[in-house]
């Protein structure tokens, strides 16, 4: 009882939290600020407002600018270069502090815009740690439901058969009795029943059917990899990046909106942020150094290494072992590397080597050999752009709650049945959100929707189930 009660309390508490979150989110200016921040600032400024990224952490910036006119802060955000040129003390100081890296100009922002961004920054900065859940449609089907119906039906039929057999037997006996024949009234023993040909026959038949069913099903499953979650060369956490840091999926997978491939980000995309964040929160130098070793970035000098492609392995080792070692020393606060430290360096170096090389790629330099998770057969043509840009489908619809996955797993079966099912159910959004293509091409549907004759157009109605939409 106690546990139930505490569970209920917890449930109510979470509900309350959820509602309060909603109430905060309803604040228009913060919401606007969030959108603007994502569009304009998130590339360089950390969303938690506490850690620096390519640009400084924005948390508490109003305090830092408190000594100056509010107008100066606006100008700084709108066009920092002009302010630096004008010799504003805070501006010049910041500029020098950040190695003379310029901030993008945002001349289109109004004062109100900036205020809402500041409000959002403030809100984020003061927020208690919690991970906002991104709602995504649940792609799963109710397997248990359909299976149980199946078993109920078999049971029902078996019962029916039994009853019928019983009735038949009785009737036979009645008929025989009426005709005056002697009824075979010997009692039937259990052993006779078990050993009888018909029962063995029935059982064999059942076995064949069952095995056949199993075989066909496993044959269908061949090559399918639902829940496939292989170990990746780098322990990249989608939970951290997409969940906690709320980096937009398409910031890294930038092909999704314009290409058939969503594109595994190039190492230089990682470097957009990790030039500034050189140590990971979870693994320290162990994982991030792999990216540096792939692209040839020296985190000690904050510079890319020249002629990295032709660098011998010894020299690469020298750079990164030193970097790993230095960090260890810094962490421990000691001067010389102890045995643990040396072991750590070796371990991490071996990790780098193992992760960045394969049977066919023997050098550390070059691309990171990520393990491919979603393997569609070659005869399937799938376009991300079609679904993301034209169809306006959330990534999570197929990939599941990636933002909660520490290790990425294949969420959907990626079977043809699954595709087809979705095409049957999914509404074509373009008809309602003013995409000229749909209105112009499918005039009949468009008119029917306008007149209220139809409520929605699904993908299959515009040919989404036809063979060569996916196979050519």
């Amino acid at each position: 009882m106690y546990s139930l009660r505490s569970g209920l309390v917890y449930l109510f508490f979470s509900l309350f939290l959820l509602m309060s979150n909603d109430m905060i989110a309803q604040d228009a200016s913060v919401a606007e600020g969030k959108t603007l921040f994502k569009a304009k600032c998130a590339q360089c400024h950390n969303r938690n407002m506490r850690d620096k990224l390519t640009g400084p952490a924005l948390g508490g910036l109003e305090d830092r600018w408190a000594d100056y006119e509010r107008e100066d802060l606006y100008n700084w955000i709108r066009n920092s270069q002009a302010l630096i040129a004008a010799g504003h003390p805070r501006a010049t100081q910041l500029y020098a502090e950040w190695d003379n890296v310029l901030m993008n100009a945002n001349t289109d922002l109004t004062d109100e815009n900036i205020e809402s961004i500041l409000a959002y920054v403030d809100e984020q900065f003061n927020k208690v740690d919690d991970i906002t859940e991104t709602p995504g449609p649940n792609g799963g089907t109710n397997k248990a439901g359909s299976n149980s119906i199946f078993w109920w039906m078999i049971g029902g039929l078996a019962l029916l058969a039994l009853i019928l057999a019983q009735i038949m037997g009785t009737l036979k006996n009645v008929v025989s009795a009426k005709e005056g024949r002697q009824t075979e009234a010997q009692p039937v023993g259990m052993l006779d029943v078990i050993g009888s040909k018909s029962l063995i026959g029935i059982l064999l038949f059942g076995l064949v059917v069952f095995l056949g069913y199993k075989t066909v099903n496993s044959a269908i499953e061949v090559g399918r990899q639902q829940d496939y979650a292989p170990e990746q060369p780098i322990k990249f956490s989608h939970k951290l990046h997409a969940g906690e840091q709320q980096i937009d999926c398409q910031y890294c997978h930038d092909g999704a909106r314009r290409s058939k491939h969503s594109v595994i980000p190039a190492a230089n995309t990682c470097m957009n942020c990790h030039k500034a964040i050189e140590k990971g929160s979870e693994y320290g130098t162990a994982e991030l150094t792999k990216i540096f070793a792939s692209i040839g970035f020296n985190p000690m000098t904050d510079k890319y290494i020249e002629d990295y492609e032709s660098m011998p392995e010894d020299s690469i080792y020298a750079i990164y072992s030193k970097w790993i070692g230095n960090n260890y020393l810094e962490e421990k606060g000691i001067e010389d590397l102890d045995d643990d430290g040396e072991e750590l360096v070796e371990e991490q170096w071996n990790g780098i080597k193992e992760s960045l090389t394969t049977d066919v790629k023997t050098s550390i330099q070059g691309a990171i050999p990520w393990v491919r998770i979603h393997n569609l057969p070659d005869h399937v043509y799938f376009s991300h752009a079609q679904h993301v840009t034209a169809g306006e489908i959330e990534c999570q619809a197929c990939h599941g709650k990636v933002e909660e996955m520490e290790v990425l797993a294949q969420h959907s079966p990626l079977s043809m049945g699954w595709c087809i099912n979705c095409h049957r159910q999914t509404e074509v959004k373009g008809f309602k959100n003013g995409n000229e293509y749909y209105a112009n091409t499918y005039k009949k549907y468009h008119d029917a929707l306008q007149d209220g004759e139809m409520t929605k157009v699904t993908v299959d109605q515009i040919g989404g189930l036809e063979c060569q939409k996916c196979h050519y």
Binding site: V222, S259, I264, A267, I295, E436, H471
Partner: protein, 1074 residues
């Protein structure tokens, strides 16, 4: 009251008359009874049955029995079980390290460049995917080609991935390095007494300036340009008349009557892509009341693409071409005030015809309209006379533009002859062969030069793939392929095009400019840029008024136009001087004309399998050359090849004192004594696609007293060998449909469509006659014929509305409905569409043997039909691809539903569902479905199914090579063995175009989505689009009065409309033929 209005008898009669006059080969024309009996009695001559019966084949001789079968079956089942229980292999996804801005994986990028090879020129756009070029398209910004392409330009992307290319510099046949090779060559150049640099025509200003520098640095050097198919006499004639050794521009669009004397301007002559587009402009029919149409006369010996497209074609022996020209000229001169010349005589029929042509030219010219005479003969006298004839007809300034000279032909036979003799006599120390210059093969001096090259001379080849000459060279300096190069081209004075690399060099190659500049001791600033880029930029900035901005714009556009820097001004022509050469007539009974084919060209394209397997448009042959022989007709029934020979028979011939065995092709339109044989075949040491394919006809060429190469020779036939080329590839009689013949028993006309296919293996000809496949008319009765066509269509439609399936129209009116229209008047048969289709859709090359077994895989074929005069018939080319029938007969016979119809009117083919019953192919009325008999693209697990198209025992079949495979279009599935494939209307392009529109949230514009064939077509004959959008061109063409659908009466409801073929006959010549 009858529901079905019967056609009136007149119309029906007309229709039958017409179709009787269309034929593809001799059997259907003769209504041969044997035709039917042979096909039914020889059922087992099926190609496969033949193969099985073949003694060499081990298909039936294996010891396989039931036990072995069961063992194998058990093994495979076990293997499959184990395979299924194994873990799925780990696959990697390799991203870029630093992603280039211009590349988004999965999205194509287009770069403007220029296709240049010798005198072939075509501004192009190169489609690249993930940094590798996969497809060529025309550049619409070009003033010259206006977006058209040729089969050769389309195929050049495959040359890039030719795995036989030279990969490193070579010295004496051994791999070497650039430093060694350059050092040794430079040392020799310094001490050489005489250096010859031999190349084909060069139209690049940059290359020319580099060669000029080279000659300045090596004072003993001489540059000799030659064209394997020479225009030297034409250039010399223009030099004598204009004082400049250049050609003028020809404007075929301005001409109302064109006379071509052996100038195949639609296929091979000078600038065919440009000329075909210009020509087709005046051949389009706008309405059935049209009264005017461009007229084309051809006077020639071997049938060329131009000759086959001509309204009237006069056949003369090759040596009589001068006499024919003189006949026309004298007629014109006598009426229009020129001095006459004298020439040999022709038959009275020929003379009368030629005079009628002359009369028409004069009448046109006097009537204020334009004429144009072009001549392909390599004879100074004939070319001078042609200039004078054009002058008399007032063509300079109207159809011939002298203010914008053309640089596409610059070869000099005399200079070549001189250089060759010098090499032969040992007077040359160093000889450099550049690009495709291959004089050992493609000049009359080949054998002697090959012998002389064994001597003391240093031989250097600057080329990118092995050829007959380079394999005899001491040093090989491999150069970049076109698609890896920086460069420029100036086809016409002021018309500049840029060439830019679209891929990093695949091998250890360099640009020819860089190599030559190095040998000229030019030092280049090394600032990290490629040498050829720096040179091109320097040359550009040195040009007058060129700015950085213009450079960028030109590079983006690929082309830029400046004022012409040269202009020709007319001098005079001494007509009487021509008569000596014109009278010099051969007395041989039979002559053979050596011609250039549309696909292989002079032979430089022979190493390209796509072009080898593209059927010759006229003879429909692949992978071989042959001697053409005429057909004799007894006027009633029998049509027979000369001496009773049939296509594929090997006969003995002697030409210019050389004897050899050649296959023959019997063909309509071959004059008695006027045979033809293609150049460009029979190369040696040039990779598997070119080597030993066909016979080298260059060996048979001679040189005239004046020093010009003669492209004809007397020929004598020394009887048949009694053998046949069993693998002779002629696709004319493959996949025929609509065949009818006479049943020998009942003497009734029957359809023999399917059964006749079995007869074809026997060398017999299937044929089309009696059904609504090809409609044609002449301009003078166009209106009547168009109305007949409408009557026929109404009748067909009336049959078709009697349906038990209601509501058919509702199916395709909701979204798109894709249809195509093909204008048979604009189609010249050039084959660019066919190669474009192969490139776009990963259609495999199958090789000669497989083609001879009817296994060619092309999704688009160009059917050739003859009609009209029996001796010199008119020709219609009909591109035939999947017709995407709305009532598709293939769909309802598929037992597994692998081919189905889409709501957009497309006939979908799903390879991974297909189990290979081939019911669909059998049921296809148009015979456009292709079956993968073997694993052509090596997608199979089992090596024994893999197939090498060249029949070599190479370790790796052709397509298994990773370099070759780079040409594959990643958006199109590579089909495995055992499945059917066919034209998809380029579904990948449709889907891509739709997605673009959706992403940009806009409607699709006409022209956004086209097929590969429509894009490639130089004349705009193929139009593709959405017929549900009434604004599109294809929707308008649907209502064109000449539009019809093939086999419309069968109610298959094809989606490809054809516009009736219309000729523009000269009545006065028609009377002569009658």
């Amino acid at each position: 009251m009858s529901k079905m209005p019967l056609l009136n008898m007149k119309n029906q009669h007309n229709m039958q008359d017409k179709s009787k006059n269309v034929w593809v080969g001799k059997a259907d024309l003769a209504g041969d009874t044997e035709f039917v009996s042979k096909e039914s009695s020889k059922f087992f001559d099926l190609p496969v049955a033949q193969e099985i019966a073949d003694e060499n084949s081990n298909l039936l001789s294996t010891d396989t029995n039931r036990r072995d079968f069961l063992k194998l079956m058990g093994f495979s089942l076990g293997a499959a079980t184990i395979a299924a229980s194994c873990d799925t292999p780990v696959r990697h996804a390799i991203p870029y390290v630093t992603k280039p801005d211009a590349i988004v994986p999965g999205v194509p990028t287009y770069y403007a460049s220029t296709f240049v090879r010798g005198g072939d020129y075509c501004p192009i756009l190169v489609k690249t995917r993930e940094g590798r070029p996969i497809k060529i398209e025309g550049n619409k910004l070009s003033n010259v080609t206006k977006g058209g392409t040729s089969a050769r330009a389309q195929a050049c992307v495959l040359d890039l991935y030719d795995s036989t290319r030279y990969r490193d510099p070579m010295k004496m046949g051994e791999k070497s390095d650039w430093d060694t090779v350059n050092k040794e060559i430079k040392a020799k150049l310094r001490s050489a007494r005489s250096i010859k640099l031999i190349s084909n025509t060069i139209i690049s200003p940059l290359t020319k300036s580099v060669i000029a520098d080279f000659i300045a640095a090596n004072s003993n050097a001489e540059h000799v340009m030659y064209d394997a198919i020479s225009s030297a006499a034409m250039l010399d004639a223009h030099e004598s008349a204009f004082g400049m050794r250049v050609l003028p521009s020809y404007k075929f669009d301005e001409a109302d009557v064109i006379l071509s004397l052996d100038a195949d301007f639609l296929g091979t002559w000078i600038s065919p892509v440009e000329f075909a587009a210009d020509y087709a402009k005046g051949r389009k029919i706008k309405s059935k009341d049209q009264k005017e149409l461009k007229r084309l006369y051809a006077v020639e010996s071997a049938m060329s693409l131009t000759g086959s497209n001509a309204d009237h074609r006069v056949i003369v022996k090759p040596s009589e071409s001068g006499a024919a020209l003189a006949t026309i000229y004298n007629r014109v001169a006598s009426k229009m005030g020129g001095s006459s010349t004298s020439a040999g005589s022709l038959t009275s029929k020929q003379t009368t015809k030629l005079e009628k042509i002359a009369d028409d030219l004069m009448a046109t010219s006097r009537g204020g309209k334009n004429t144009l005479v072009v001549n392909g003969a390599n004879s100074l006298a004939e070319q001078l006379l042609t200039i004078e004839l054009n002058r008399l007809l007032g063509n300079f300034g109207t159809t011939i533009d002298t203010s914008r000279p053309c640089y596409l032909r610059q070869g000099d036979d005399k200079a070549l002859g001189k250089a060759m003799t010098q090499i032969e006599n040992g007077g040359v120390d160093v000889v450099i062969f550049m690009d495709d210059a291959n004089p050992v093969y493609d000049t009359p001096w080949g054998a002697q030069v090959a012998e002389a090259m064994k001597g003391d001379v240093m031989k250097i080849a600057l080329t990118n793939r092995p050829n007959d000459t380079s394999t005899l060279c001491d040093y090989i300096c491999p150069i970049h392929h076109l698609l890896e190069s920086w460069g420029d081209a100036e086809a016409y004075s002021g018309e500049l095009s840029l060439i830019q690399p679209v891929i990093e060099p695949l091998f250890n190659t360099r640009s020819r400019e860089e190599i030559l500049a190095g040998w000229s001791n030019k030092t280049m600033a090394d600032d990290g840029d490629r040498a050829d880029f720096v040179m091109l930029q320097n040359a550009w900035s040195a040009g007058e008024g060129n700015t950085r901005k213009m450079w960028e714009q030109s590079l983006h556009d690929g082309v830029t136009t400046k004022a012409s820097s040269q202009s020709m001004s007319m001098g005079s022509v001494n007509v009487s001087s021509t008569s000596r050469e014109l009278q010099n007539r051969s007395t041989a009974d039979a002559e053979v004309k050596f011609y250039e084919t549309v696909n292989i060209g002079s032979g430089v394209y022979a190493s390209n399998p796509w072009l080898q397997e593209m059927p010759d448009p006229i003879y429909r042959t692949v992978w071989s050359n042959f001697v053409t022989i005429p057909l004799a007709w007894d006027g009633k029934r029998t049509i027979e090849g000369m001496n009773g020979w049939e296509t594929g028979d090997i006969v003995n011939v002697s030409v210019n004192g050389q004897t050899m065995e050649v296959p023959v092709v019997d063909q309509f339109g071959v004059g008695v004594g006027a045979h033809g044989m293609a150049l460009g075949y029979g190369r040696q040491n040039s990779g598997p696609a070119a080597s030993d394919v066909g016979i080298n006809a260059y060996k048979l060429l001679s040189v005239s007293d004046a020093g010009y190469i003669q492209y004809y020779a007397p020929i004598t036939f020394d009887g048949a060998t009694g053998r046949k080329d069993e693998e002779f590839g002629i696709v004319q009689y493959h996949h025929t449909y609509g065949i009818k013949g006479n049943d020998p028993e009942t003497n009734e006309t029957i359809n023999v469509d399917e059964r006749s296919i079995s007869a074809i293996a026997d060398g017999y000809q299937g044929a089309l006659t009696d059904r609504s496949v090809l409609f044609y008319a002449d301009l003078k009765n166009l209106k009547e014929e168009a109305e007949d066509l409408q009557h026929f269509r109404e009748h067909a439609d009336h049959l078709n509305v009697q349906t038990i399936y209601e509501g058919h129209e509702e199916l395709y009116n909701k979204g798109h409905k894709w249809e195509m229209s093909v204008d048979l008047n604009s189609c010249t048969g050039c084959g660019a569409c066919q190669v474009a289709c192969v490139a776009e859709n990963n259609v495999p090359v199958v090789g000669k043997k497989e083609v001879s077994r009817h296994h060619e895989m092309t999704w688009l074929r160009i059917d050739r039909y003859f009609f009209g005069d029996m001796e010199s018939p008119n020709t219609a080319y009909q591109p035939m691809m999947c017709q995407h029938c709305d009532n598709a007969p293939c769909e309802n016979v598929c037992p597994v539903g692998a081919t189905q119809h889409s709501s957009e009117g497309l006939n979908h083919m799903t390879y991974n569902r297909c189990i290979g019953t081939r019911y669909c192919a059998n049921n296809c009325p148009f015979k456009v479905r292709r079956f993968n008999w073997l694993d052509y693209t090596t997608a199979d697990l089992f090596g024994s199914n893999e197939h090498d198209p060249f029949g070599t025992d190479a370790d790796q079949p052709y397509y298994a090579d990773n370099i070759t495979r780079m040409v594959l279009n990643p958006d199109v599935t590579v089909r495995s063995r055992g499945v059917i494939e066919k034209c998809s209307f380029c579904i990948q392009k449709i889907q891509y175009g739709k997605l673009q529109a959706k992403a940009e949230r806009r409607a699709i514009k006409d022209g956004d989505i086209t097929t590969a064939c429509a894009t490639a077509c130089p004349t705009g004959a193929i139009v593709f689009g959405d017929i549900n959008n009434k604004e599109t061109e294809v929707a308008k063409l649907e209502n064109h009065p000449l539009n019809y659908y093939v086999l419309e009466e069968t109610n298959v409801r094809a989606a490809v409309g054809y516009l009736m073929k219309v000729t523009n006959k000269n009545e006065k010549i028609n009377e002569l033929d009658a």
